[in-house]
């Protein structure tokens, strides 16, 4: 099928894009990679009257470290994460996720910013960014502002960006020494959404966990942190029992729905399993 009709704009600058957003309000949608938006438009689940293509704006695609952070331009393609030495060597949690988002062809066009702005709990980046404690940079008519990732996802497909704001960058704190991260996803088949996936970032000191952030994919209506699971780890020596307790906590606090990928009970138990495995992998990398 094909999309409904729309007006198309291809601004050359961010300012232009923002003023178009201001002008068209909720009739407008931003076109970044298009890998989620275009399929939705083809099924007429999304019917924007105006499409603002931000692919021609210079300076939105970059990967660089600065001031203790990895700065990812919103238009950075997923495949760039796979090809980046910095990401592959220092940001393992991100690298893990990049390899399992959709499929390699989609990753050539799909953008990190788009993945996050779409705010779909089934997408992989939200959980990753929650685990990193990332910061979102948004640009609007009143300038730029920061949004802590914990404040970013508000509801299914909804976030705290204003209607006239564009997500321009995401910042990941560079993991300190003794920090390790991992992302593990179980899908029915390649290219599918996760049945359940876990993003874990741990800081270890000796055998004790001093910090933990855990993000979960596709087991809640809003991308979520498994805070109870995190608390089960912090300050503890990570024995098998402790890890199991964290897994169980995550299973209990998530809120999956029954669908083709499995029952609620299955998804909860699988979350327990995935969280445990991801914790172990993060631990390995922390050392």
């Amino acid at each position: 099928m094909i999309p409904g009709e729309f007006d198309y704009h291809s601004p050359q600058t961010l300012a232009e894009a923002i003023s178009l957003l201001v002008e068209h309000g909720d009739e407008a949608k931003i076109l970044a990679g298009g890998q989620s938006l275009i399929p939705a438009m083809r099924f007429r689940l999304a019917l924007p009257g105006t499409l603002i293509d931000i692919n021609r704006i210079d300076g939105l695609s970059y990967l660089r470290e600065e001031n203790g952070h990895l700065l990812i331009g919103a238009m950075t393609r997923e495949s760039a994460l796979e090809e980046s030495d910095i990401v592959q060597s220092k940001y393992h949690l991100l690298a893990d996720a990049a390899a399992v988002i959709a499929d390699p062809l989609v990753r050539n066009l799909a953008t990190v910013g788009g993945n996050i702005a779409h705010s779909d709990p089934a997408n992989d980046h939200p959980a990753v960014m929650l685990a990193y404690g990332a910061t979102v940079m948004a640009a609007g008519p009143n300038g730029t502002r920061r949004i802590a990732i914990d404040d970013f996802f508000t509801d299914l497909f909804e976030n705290s960006l204003e209607e006239n704001e564009i997500l321009t960058e995401i910042r990941i704190p560079t993991p300190a020494a003794g920090t390790g991260g991992a992302y593990l996803k179980l899908e029915r088949k390649v290219g599918d959404y996760a049945i359940s996936a876990a993003a874990v970032q741990l800081t270890m000191s000796g055998g004790t966990c001093t910090a933990a952030r855990i993000g979960l994919t596709n087991v809640s209506p809003v991308p979520m942190r498994a805070k109870n699971a995190e608390q089960a780890l912090v300050g503890q020596t990570l024995t098998d029992d402790v890890i199991e307790a964290a897994g169980q906590a995550a299973a209990a606090e998530c809120d999956p729905s029954q669908d083709l990928r499995g029952s609620v009970a299955y998804k909860r138990d699988l979350t327990r399993v995935m969280v445990k495995r991801t914790i172990r992998k993060a631990m390995e990398r922390a050392n």
């Binding site: 999309p3 198309y8 298009g34 066009l109 290219g191």
Partner: protein, 154 residues
């Protein structure tokens, strides 16, 4: 609106509705029917082409997004003689009905460029975005391995 796209070395200027999908532009407006449509949820990869040297699914790109871009479709892969990947698919019986083949070949070509030592696992992982219902993938993997060796490192 008017767009200018270079496809297989020839530049075309056309008027299109913004909602025109790139695959429909190629097939219906330019008559390049080598690129096939196999699904409508961006899963199957039959529509894979090269856009600015990257493999993309042309069903999930608007023609207007490709304004100014440089595209290669299956029709433009051979250069007087068959591209090593095309030859390899032929040599190894890497196709049966042929419908997924253009997309598979385009995808595989970028996958192995500059990677003569690509492993079987990497090939299978790299072709995850292309579905074949006929071959069971075994001969496709063999074909890609052969082509990878011949295309050498750049």
């Amino acid at each position: 609106m008017q767009i200018t796209i270079t496809v297989n070395g020839t530049t075309h200027t056309r008027d299109v509705e913004p909602r025109t999908l790139l695959v429909d532009f190629l097939r219906d407006h330019l008559g390049l029917t080598g690129t096939n449509i196999g699904c409508d949820t961006s899963q199957c990869g039959a529509c894979t082409i090269h856009m600015d040297s990257q493999s993309v699914k042309s069903c999930t790109v608007l023609a207007v997004q490709a304004d100014g871009a440089d595209l290669t479709t299956i029709e433009g892969l051979a250069n007087g003689s068959l591209h090593p990947m095309q030859q390899a698919f032929w040599d190894n019986h890497g196709l049966q009905c042929g419908y997924c083949t253009p997309g598979m070949i385009m995808s595989a070509t970028k996958l192995v460029e500059g990677n003569p030592g690509i492993s079987e696992a990497e090939i299978r992982h790299g072709l995850e975005g292309n579905i074949c219902r006929c071959t069971g993938y075994q001969n496709i993997v063999k074909a890609v391995q052969q082509a990878a060796g011949e295309m050498g490192g750049d």
